[in-house]
């Protein structure tokens, strides 16, 4: 019976599996959600949603599916003329109730309030969230459709309780959080781990020791191995200054997380785009620059290359010789980035600007093309994607 609902969840982008649906059905068979719709909602949520960032989505789909009929009624209602409504209401109202309405300023007043509320709904429609618009939990929604709603509207508090639990959407704030802390970044970077044993043997290899001792007729034969550590090598190139000043905090976090996470991390700074040299110390960047060619010669191709920059500049700075804003470059930046990419096939570009803005900046588009589309936003989700691309 829940199969259409299940497919609606999947169409809505949730990763609900058959196992989970079967679990839910099993739980229902045992009478867990027999008491009320709320119980069913709680049960379905516990069984089908496994990530709090998906809760809001689930609530919306649940609302849409189980209130589909009510929704269409609310929509219909918007077109019903007032006279008709008034007539209808008067038919159903008791004298006592009518007196209450009179006390509140008469039916006209109520209708005015209703019209106002409807206007408000229209505004929200324009806001782009249809669901909120047609949720119909407002006292007036129930109201006009059914005279009984009028009475409920008077009772105020009763009406509040009529708001469905899933309509409250308490989980709104959690959807795909953008907040980045060093800890979160470290966790994301940790996915890049690749363990290897290198260097001096300073740890007891228990298994091998036992094995060798057994073969040795019971006489101890101690075996040592080098410590296991993260063997991933990373070259980090950070854009600094200019338009990057807005993103200093997130870049600092990214940098400090990367520093503590990778043993083999080399970092270099550049301004706006990569040219024939970069630097390691911003205070002495004019005196002490490192030729980009030296970098490609010094660090092997097993290094993974990560650019961090907003790639926001004039397109000339990328495609023309002499385009750099700071100095005369004999070869265009595009040539230099291609050289780097040829040396380091595993490379990504992390952009602190939100993805939605990329389309509108020609230099970002250009950089993305040069990077073969391997540009990711500098958020936890983007970092995850990027690290997958680095593997």
């Amino acid at each position: 019976m829940l199969i259409p609902f299940f497919f609606m969840l999947r169409d809505g982008g949730m990763k609900t599996s058959i196992t989970e649906l079967l679990t839910l059905l099993d739980a229902m068979k045992r009478g867990l959600a027999a008491e009320s719709v709320d119980d069913f909602y709680y049960l379905a949520r516990a069984a089908l949603v496994k990530d709090e960032s998906q809760l809001d989505r689930f609530d919306r789909i649940f609302g849409a599916y189980f209130k589909g009929i009510e929704d269409s009624l609310v929509d219909l209602f918007a077109d019903i003329p007032d006279e008709w409504l008034q007539h209808q209401a008067e038919l159903f109202l008791t004298d006592e109730e009518r007196a209450q309405i009179e006390a509140m300023g008469g039916f006209e007043e109520l209708m005015k309030a209703l019209a106002e509320r409807l206007d408000e709904q229209d505004e929200r429609h324009e806001g782009g969230n249809k669901w909120i618009g047609t949720a119909g939990t407002s006292p007036f929604g129930a109201y006009g459709y059914n005279p009984e709603g009028v009475r409920m509207g008077q009772a105020g508090s009763r009406n509040r309780s009529a708001v469905k639990v899933w309509d409250k959407r308490n989980y709104r704030n959690l959807d795909d959080s953008v907040e980045l802390g060093t800890r979160n970044i470290k966790v994301a970077l940790r996915r890049l781990r690749k363990f290897a044993r290198e260097g001096a043997a300073d740890q007891l290899d228990l298994e091998d020791t036992i094995d060798k001792t057994a073969r040795n007729g019971g006489m101890l034969d101690i075996r040592m191995v080098p410590e296991r550590h993260n063997a991933v090598k990373v070259l980090l190139c950070l854009d600094i200054g200019g338009s990057m000043d807005d993103h200093v905090r997130i870049c600092e976090e990214m940098f400090s997380a990367a520093r503590s996470e990778f043993k083999h991390l080399e970092y270099f700074y550049f301004h706006n785009f990569i040219y024939e040299s970069m630097w390691k110390d911003n205070r002495r960047r004019h005196q002490k620059r490192i030729p980009t060619l030296d970098i490609t010669h010094k660090y092997g191709t097993d290094y993974k290359l990560v650019f961090v920059g907003d790639a926001t500049m004039s397109p000339y700075e990328i495609v023309y010789a002499g385009g750099s804003v700071e100095h005369w470059n004999d070869e265009p930046g595009a040539v230099w980035i291609k050289r780097l990419l040829n040396t380091y096939p595993k490379a990504i570009w992390l952009n602190p600007e939100p993805r939605a803005r990329w389309e509108f900046t020609p230099s970002v588009k250009l950089t993305r093309e040069l990077m073969d589309d391997r540009m990711y936003p500098l958020t936890i989700a983007g970092l995850d994607e990027g690290i997958k691309a680095l593997h």
Binding site: T19, E20, L32, A46, K50, L55, T213, G218, L220
Partner: protein, 289 residues
């Protein structure tokens, strides 16, 4: 089955949705995964479930170095090696050197136990995957003794996570899930009431007021949570601070007393003090997030 319903306890307020999730997990004998802000009582839940259903509780606290195998059993090879060098008799039976883990202990329990796997996200990313079979079938194989260990009764497994790592899908599919959201003022009042039943009414409402105001301060690194609130109220009671002192409505914008119990981060304390100072000099409206 009827008496195995969890409805919160005298010291733990469980919301309806939490109760439903726990009961579903108990009935279907599947693990339940609890997530939520630190300090909202995730770990406490397992203890309370065990207490209210009067079942034994086994706690397995996960650290970054914990391996899945440690929950099942460990083979103490060093002890055996030493014994063999000393020529002890017990060295001949390998079973003497198998050390049981928490999961095994829970499996061996005669009565249905509650097993808490605390902060599963602290361990390596692959940790939950290594436990799939064990949690699904509730059995595992001891290679050293060639013995299959099967649970006498399927334990109620409560798993908590602080969301430091994403858990694998295959693992999540086998669990029920509940996210403990931060309690609203009404639930919070109930929670405090359960812990401090004799608290003066006005002190409580003032304290809650001040507490939610502190939580609303924008940019806090670690917002104070339920457990911090409870600590703070304990302190307020110990110091016998009058409710009037907590009122921050007036223009003077007093810092709540003993706020060190609420803000645990140095930067947060600085930020908070700065905001209060700004407010004072402006004597303007309250800070809003």
């Amino acid at each position: 089955m009827e008496n195995t319903r969890f409805n919160g306890t005298s010291t733990y307020i469980a919301t309806d949705d939490l109760t439903m999730a726990v009961n579903a997990a108990v009935t279907l004998e599947r693990p339940i995964l609890i997530k939520g802000e630190p300090g909202t009582g995730k770990t406490q839940l397992a203890i309370e479930v065990a207490q209210s259903l009067s079942k034994p509780l086994y706690e397995w606290h996960i650290k970054s170095t914990t391996k899945a195998q440690q929950g099942l059993y460990e083979y103490d090879a060093v002890a055996r090696l030493r014994d063999s060098q000393l020529g002890e008799d017990r060295v001949h039976d390998i079973a003497n050197y198998i050390v049981r883990g928490k999961l095994w202990e829970a499996f061996e329990s005669d009565e249905q136990p509650v097993l808490l796997i605390d902060e599963i996200d602290k361990a390596d990313i692959e940790f939950p995957n290594d436990l799939l079979q064990e949690l699904d079938r509730m059995e595992f194989y001891v290679y050293e003794t060639k013995k299959l260990v099967t649970a006498k009764t399927r334990p109620i497994i409560v798993i908590t996570s602080n969301n430091e790592k994403e858990l694998p899908d295959a693992f999540l599919r086998r669990c029920f899930f509940h996210y403990i959201k931060f309690p609203d003022e009404k639930t919070m009042a109930k929670i405090v009431d359960v812990h401090f039943p004799n608290l003066k009414k006005n002190l409580l409402s003032e304290a809650l007021n001040a507490f939610f105001k502190v939580r609303d301060v924008p940019g806090l690194k670690k917002k104070p949570s339920t457990s911090e609130l409870l600590d703070w109220i304990k302190l307020l009671l110990a110091e016998d601070i009058p409710p009037e002192a907590l009122r921050t409505e007036n223009a003077s914008k007093a810092i709540p007393p003993l706020y060190g119990a609420l803000l645990k981060n140095e930067q947060d304390v600085h930020l908070f003090e700065r905001l209060v100072f700004l407010d004072r000099s402006k004597a303007g409206g309250p800070q809003r997030s």
